[in-house]
């Protein structure tokens, strides 16, 4: 049985979408307990309740930041309770720029629910921001103006001026300078140039753990929700979270 945690609906459209999701879940025979995050019932409480009730599969329905929040509490609580084999699933409510839908390779609601029914599992890397913030989606360290920052890994130390830093749960880090982000004019005239711009101002590397420091407090965010602020220490924990992913599609060639 699945335990569904819904994000509070922001408008009527989302409410209608939730009704549709509930109907489809029922029709596909994967219904379970459905709860909704409210000011009285926090995500943490709901997640803990689900695990205490003995559910092994927790599904989050909502935006990227909400899905990440549920995953964060799920990992924290399951580690604290020593529970293994906890499975996590997600139904994103936005598909255009959603990182979770990119991660799960789903383009619409039907695919997301079908995915849950098929229950194909895969373990994913999770990153930890010390002391106890987990994230399963790429985070961004950015501000409205460029900032100086120091990144240090076990073997090297980087000093740079950055506009934005993107970090995946596997701790692949991309540091973007103001010159590597195209301005409005460059975006508008992009079609005139066939060859891509020579982007020598972007740095990219991967480490198992590293720290970021800056001379000011820079927010670390997912989907515009702030997770933490610099200075931070990050670690990646390989294959920590078991996620429901789509089955591999087999393409048939017509000769």
């Amino acid at each position: 049985m699945y335990y569904y945690i819904f994000m509070p609906p922001e408008d009527r459209k989302t409410k209608r979408l939730y009704e549709k999701i509930k109907l489809k879940i029922g029709l596909l025979g994967i219904s379970g307990e459905m709860v909704q995050n409210t000011p009285l019932r926090t995500v943490e409480e709901l997640t803990e309740l689900g695990l205490t009730k003995g559910y092994n599969t927790i599904i989050a329905i909502g935006k990227d930041s909400f899905i990440n929040k549920v995953a964060h509490f799920l990992i924290n609580i399951s580690l604290a309770q020593g529970k293994e084999n906890i499975t996590f699933g997600a139904i994103p409510i936005e598909y255009n720029e959603s990182k979770i839908s990119q991660m799960l390779k789903i383009n619409n609601l039907n695919e997301a629910i079908e995915n849950l029914r098929n229950r194909h599992l895969k373990k994913f890397d999770v990153a930890l921001i010390e002391p106890n913030k987990f994230f399963i989606l790429p985070i961004e360290v950015c501000k409205n103006k460029p900032f100086y920052c120091n990144l240090s890994t076990k073997t090297y130390f980087i000093k740079t001026l950055a506009k934005k830093i993107k970090i995946t749960p596997s701790l692949r880090c991309k540091i973007m300078d103001i010159r590597s982000i195209p301005n409005l004019f460059q975006k508008a005239t992009k079609f005139l140039f066939s060859a891509p711009r020579d982007d020598k101002y972007t740095s990219s590397f991967r480490a198992k753990s590293f720290s970021i420091e800056s001379n000011e407090l820079i927010p670390i965010q997912i989907d515009n929700e702030i997770l933490a602020k610099t200075p931070i220490k990050l670690h990646t924990i390989p294959k920590l979270l078991q996620l429901i992913v789509p089955r591999d599609k087999i393409s048939v060639r017509n000769n």
């Binding site: 890397d125 890994t153 073997t155 090297y156 990219s204």
Partner: protein, 165 residues
């Protein structure tokens, strides 16, 4: 998927100052300033804006920037017209283009050459002797290399990861 192993290597941007050892199983491209060792199992590209102060070890090394340190390119080392190398080069194939600056010693290894000869020619007494005498050294060198790579940590595995656009 979170993560389809794309084998993306390390890139040091033009505005970055890096101190320490960079090691990667994939390609390394340097546009900025590096003060330390650069080690890769594949290609290393030092672009015109790059300044590296320290030894470089890789399979194919292309230098278009400035390098102050020893270079060890197991397969090939190339210095482009904008390149400047101050230090010794140890490689099996060396290309120095017109306009490049190279101040130092060069040592050409014959490993690849010998292998090519033994492959193309029928069994030759001399090449056999060479082969017999080398494996122990080779093994030692390989072991040393793998140890160095492991020690340097943060060595990359083929992983599933997000594409960061």
């Amino acid at each position: 998927m979170n993560n389809e192993g794309n084998g993306e290597g390390t890139i040091v941007g033009a505005n970055v100052k890096l101190q320490g050892t960079i090691s990667d199983n994939n390609d390394i491209v340097i546009h900025g300033a590096v003060d330390g060792e650069v080690i890769s199992e594949k290609n290393i590209n030092i672009t015109p804006s790059a300044v590296v102060k320290g030894p470089i070890k890789g399979m194919i090394i292309t230098v278009a920037g400035t390098v102050e340190g020893d270079i060890e390119g197991t397969k090939k080392t190339e210095i482009l017209p904008t390149g400047k190398v101050i230090g010794s080069i140890n490689t099996s194939e060396l290309i120095i283009q017109s306009g490049a600056i190279f101040n130092g010693e060069c040592k050409m290894t014959e490993e690849n050459k010998t292998m090519r000869e033994t492959k193309s020619e029928p069994v030759n007494g001399k090449s056999k002797e060479k082969e017999n005498s080398k494996p122990a050294d080779k093994d030692q060198q390989e072991e040393k290399k793998t140890k160095e790579m492991e020690e340097a940590t943060d060595a990359q595995e083929v992983i599933d990861d997000f594409e960061l656009d």
